[in-house]
């Protein structure tokens, strides 16, 4: 059996590129905070993808250049961004109408845990000492049909993030379509986890041995 430490898998930029590959030309996409933000930079030339940020902007552009930050032009992670030509600003109720109303094609989110059936936990560790904070995560998983998760396969302490059952409080049930990790790309099909692609040097058995979720090839 291969030790985890000896497997590098894909870099986060490579994972982001895999996600970007699955975003179609013309898609309206919402990117969560953290790893998902990398996806914007990996969209292939020739594809026109419109990024939505739930704090009221459709047509989010690149991060603001140093010295050109505008504190009134930020993304959902409160980072300074820009707007592309053809962008639109709107208020929060209209922004979440886009989300809840099913108008966003794809949402890419980070995860604490994903279950065998595509349940997602990404807002609370359930630790009573933590300050609970949910933001727009629950609205996104409830409103957007295609939820991609981008995450490392293991937590920092080496525990799998893909589990038979989530132990953390859920963000949504049966919502994840595909999980993009450094080890593999895994689709959730009819409440089953199907490994679509393995990172170089990663074997199916290694993955299966490292999660109590049942994986299919």
């Amino acid at each position: 059996m291969v030790a985890k430490e000896n497997i590098t898998g894909w870099s986060v930029q490579e994972i982001a590129e895999k996600v970007a590959n699955d975003i179609f030309d013309g898609a309206y996409v919402n990117l969560g905070i953290g790893l998902p933000e990398l996806v914007a930079g990996r969209i292939q030339d020739g594809k026109e993808v419109i990024f939505h940020t739930e704090n009221g902007l459709l047509g989010m552009g690149k991060p603001a250049e140093p010295g050109k930050e505008d504190p009134e032009l930020v993304n959902a992670g409160k980072k300074y961004v820009t707007a592309i030509p053809g962008a639109a600003y709107f208020h929060h109720a209209d922004s979440f109408a886009m989300i809840r109303g099913g108008h966003i094609d794809i949402c890419v989110l980070g995860a604490y845990q994903v279950s065998e059936e595509g349940d997602l936990a990404n807002w609370s560790s359930g630790n009573p000492d933590d300050i609970p904070a949910v933001g727009g995560a629950m609205d996104l998983v409830a409103g957007v049909d295609t939820i991609f998760v981008i995450t490392k396969f293991f937590t920092k302490s080496g525990k799998p993030k893909i589990l038979k059952q989530c132990t953390y409080p859920l963000t949504g049930k049966n919502v994840v379509k595909t999980i993009y990790t450094d080890m593999a790309i895994i689709d959730v099909e009819n409440k089953k986890l199907k490994v679509r692609e393995l990172a170089p040097g990663v074997e199916f058995d290694f993955l299966q041995q490292n999660t109590d979720a049942k994986l299919y090839m």
């Binding site: 013309g26 419109i50 109408a97 109303g101």
Partner: protein, 237 residues
């Protein structure tokens, strides 16, 4: 590349099918997408459910669509006007169905569909004949009725300016139902007086962001419905 521009009104409405629910913007003639409606008359699809504030005037636009027997049912707030002749006649004969909805409830039911809200409570129509068949419930000592979202397969909308992303701005009170119908329909088809370059509409001034729009067709000189009615024109002419 995103390019929602259609080459003609006929191309724009080509996907509309028999039995579809079609929202049509406008408050009377203001904002009524008359060229798109006429393309739909040409197409001849039948059994439509139309959602629109009014039921058309004279023998053009929505009235022509109804007269051509393409509309099975209309959901609207005000089908009666001095120059509305087609709808009243068919209605009295029992040949078209009417769901009468208070105007604000109509607007909110449309907006709800676009916003992913399946149902909401409103005080409008309580203690009137239009509360009939509706579930009632009290909140804070006042009675409300439960109203359901109106979803549509298509919306036909008129606007002033559009770009290839489908960003729209409207003109004055012709805005009316346009923005919310764009939100509520799976496929929103827009006739714009002018198609402009992406970036020409200030992001602060966009009224309908392109995400709500599927197709845009430029109609630089839309007909003036009230003039056509005055001239007693009939469509198809």
């Amino acid at each position: 590349m995103i390019n929602k521009i259609a080459n003609s009104v006929h191309e724009a409405v080509s996907g509309i099918f028999d039995g579809a629910t079609v929202m049509i913007s406008g408050f009377g003639e203001a904002g009524s997408p008359i060229e798109l409606i006429h393309a739909l008359v040409d197409k001849g699809v039948k059994d439509l459910t139309v959602v629109s504030n009014n039921a058309g005037s004279g023998h053009v636009g929505l009235a022509a669509l109804i007269e051509n027997r393409q509309v099975r049912k209309i959901i609207c707030s005000f089908p009666r006007t001095a120059i509305s002749v087609v709808f009243p006649e068919l209605y009295r004969k029992g040949e078209i169905e009417l769901e009468l909805v208070p105007q604000g409830t109509l607007a909110e039911r449309i907006r709800s569909a676009g916003a992913g809200i399946p149902a909401f409570y409103t005080p409008t129509s309580v203690n009137t004949p239009l509360e009939e068949g509706k579930e009632k419930r009290d909140f804070n000592n006042r009675t409300y009725v439960l109203e359901h979202a109106i979803y549509a397969d298509f919306a036909l909308v008129k606007c002033a300016k559009a770009d290839r992303y489908g960003n729209l701005v409207y003109n004055k009170t012709a805005r009316n139902f346009g923005p919310i119908m764009c939100m509520a329909a799976k496929n929103t088809i827009v006739q714009a007086k002018e198609v402009v370059e992406v970036g020409d509409i200030d992001p602060e001034h966009v009224v309908t962001p392109g995400i709500f729009v599927k197709k845009v067709v430029e109609v630089p000189n839309p007909a003036d419905e009230s003039k056509l009615v005055e001239q007693e024109r009939r469509y198809p002419w």
